[in-house]
């Protein structure tokens, strides 16, 4: 009876371990066999690349969090590396060039159904702050709609607006305004 119970729990667990870990177990052992001091720079760089790849190799997990998420967010090659999209003046339309960014996030969200993100909408400083708060929400909602269209689930995405209250660039010129008219995809606080 004990054995039957054990196997019932153990088998899927082992299977899961195999599926998520089999590609990396061998490599980790090889690294641990040696002292850090013995590694060449190229090898260290290779390890870094590999760790990043491992972090990306999160297929099958419903949620990526903690260090794995950190690495994914920090890695410039990760599919969710770019997390800001920009808007034209007085517009909440997604620009053609930002579509691939949102598709990548949508795919990531679809692959990790327990992942939750917040889309923060922002505007430039011109015009009425309260009206801008509502415009910022329109931008965030537009991003949410696009993410859902590309395969994410609506309940994975929370929308919020900061209006003109939290600019990236404090300048008061076209360049600063273009930087500030944005939506940010936030995976963690």
């Amino acid at each position: 009876m004990y054995g039957k119970h054990l196997s019932r729990w153990l088998m899927p667990a082992l299977l899961a371990l195999f599926l998520t870990g089999c590609a990396t177990v061998g490599d980790e052992e090889r690294v641990e066999d040696r002292q850090d001091g013995e590694l060449t720079e190229e090898e260290l760089a290779a390890i870094d690349r590999q760790r990043a790849a491992e972090a990306r190799g999160v297929d099958g997990r419903r949620l990526v969090e903690g260090d794995a998420l950190e690495e994914l967010l920090e890695d410039p090659d990760s599919p969710i590396a770019q997390r800001t999209v920009y808007f034209a003046f007085d517009s909440s339309e997604i620009r053609e060039r930002d579509v691939s960014i949102l598709e990548a996030h949508a795919a990531f969200l679809a692959d990790h159904p327990d992942q939750r993100i917040t889309v923060e909408g922002h505007t430039d400083e011109r015009g009425a702050p309260e009206y801008n708060l509502a415009l910022g929400e329109r931008r965030a909602e537009a991003v949410k709609r696009a993410l859902v269209l590309y395969g994410a689930s609506a309940d994975q995405i929370r929308v919020t607006s900061y209006g003109e209250e939290n600019p990236v660039d404090l300048g008061s010129n076209e360049e600063a305004w273009a930087q500030n008219r944005r939506a940010e995809l936030v995976y963690r606080y």
Binding site: P129, E130, Y131, E137, N166
Partner: protein
Amino acid sequence: MLKRSLCAWITALVLPLAPLAAKAELVIDIIGGAESAIPVAVAPFKWEGDGSPPEDVARIISDNLVRTGQFQSLPRSEFLETPSQQSEVRFANWRALGVDNLIVGEVQPDGDRFRVRYELLDVFGGSRMEGKSFAVPRDAMRTVSHVISDEIYEALLGRPGAFNTRIAYVAMQDRRNGDREWRLVIADADGYYPESILSSSQPIMSPAWSPGGDRLAYVSFENRRSEIYIQEIGSGERERVASFEGINSAPAWSPDGRRLALTLSRGGQTDIYVLELDSGDLRRVTDHWAIDTEATWMPDGRSLLFTSDRGGNPQIYRVNVDNRNVQRVTFEGNYNASPTLSPDGRRVAMVHRTDRGYGIAVQELGENGRFRVLTRGSQDESPSFAPNGAMVLYATRADGRAVLGTASLYGEARQILSTDGERIREPAWSP
């Protein structure tokens, strides 16, 4: 409720404060004069103590009068004499200088207090119109100067002054360590004595004074989203009153102080609601797919002005809170937002897009509906009337910095309030 909000303050680095003196002093510049303004002279108040007087009372009074745009003040360098009481005045001198009214007075130490006496004189009649004496502590010298200014204003123009009032605004600063800090500040109407009543690592916006002037409603992002709080100014005690899904913003007190109009976007549609503060009852007032926001109450407490882009661009509309009938109010140009009413309900000030950018405009309500642009900035916003309706306080830019300005409804006078190294925005003038 209070206990729960306490936890939130700690996690989000929010610090509600009983009024705490802010470090930065406001710098005040008065720009321009007015051609139709009443010519007055304010003689330096005679000082009867040691050293220098605690405040230059005459300067405070003169600055107050000038920034209304309704007075011009003769520069001291043109004075022929410096009287401190009526019996010392040679009225012919002042007539020759074209002065209509002369203000004289003195400050005397009196134990640990100061005795401040003033007289308002009619130069043509050679007579006294007003005069009074006050005994005040040192830290009330500016306040008594504002009280005197109010009395002079009322004696000469027949309506109350608004000098002894306060303003609230939001200051934002980037610290050296990269952290950004927002503070909710209250100060005297001339910008002096700034005190922080809230400090946060997340944005604060839209402060709104209760009709009694003892509480502020505002929007705080301390929980990474907009929520509405009400804070008692004296004690720093506060309560979260709106935290619905979506936007919670644009709080506006009803004239009786019992209801709060606000903007919510729950259900994905940005509309105006009215929250009954005692019961917590919430009623939807507008229902439209467009953005409806920035409600402000008409003095009768039965209708609201608000901004909506239901016509394709933002314009100001009026809604009756009982039958919810909506009427468009502004038709000038393609961007009118942030309506704020004069206390008598006869004028509405707003943000208006011009060729130059965004300025503050004023429209008369009712039949003729006269419309004029009051300010010359390109990024002016957040207008707020003085409680006597004679001036508008607003957020503007000067030399690339975010500062506050006041503009007169009667002349060209403008005043800029700024602090060093801070962006100051979203001003609200107290009742």
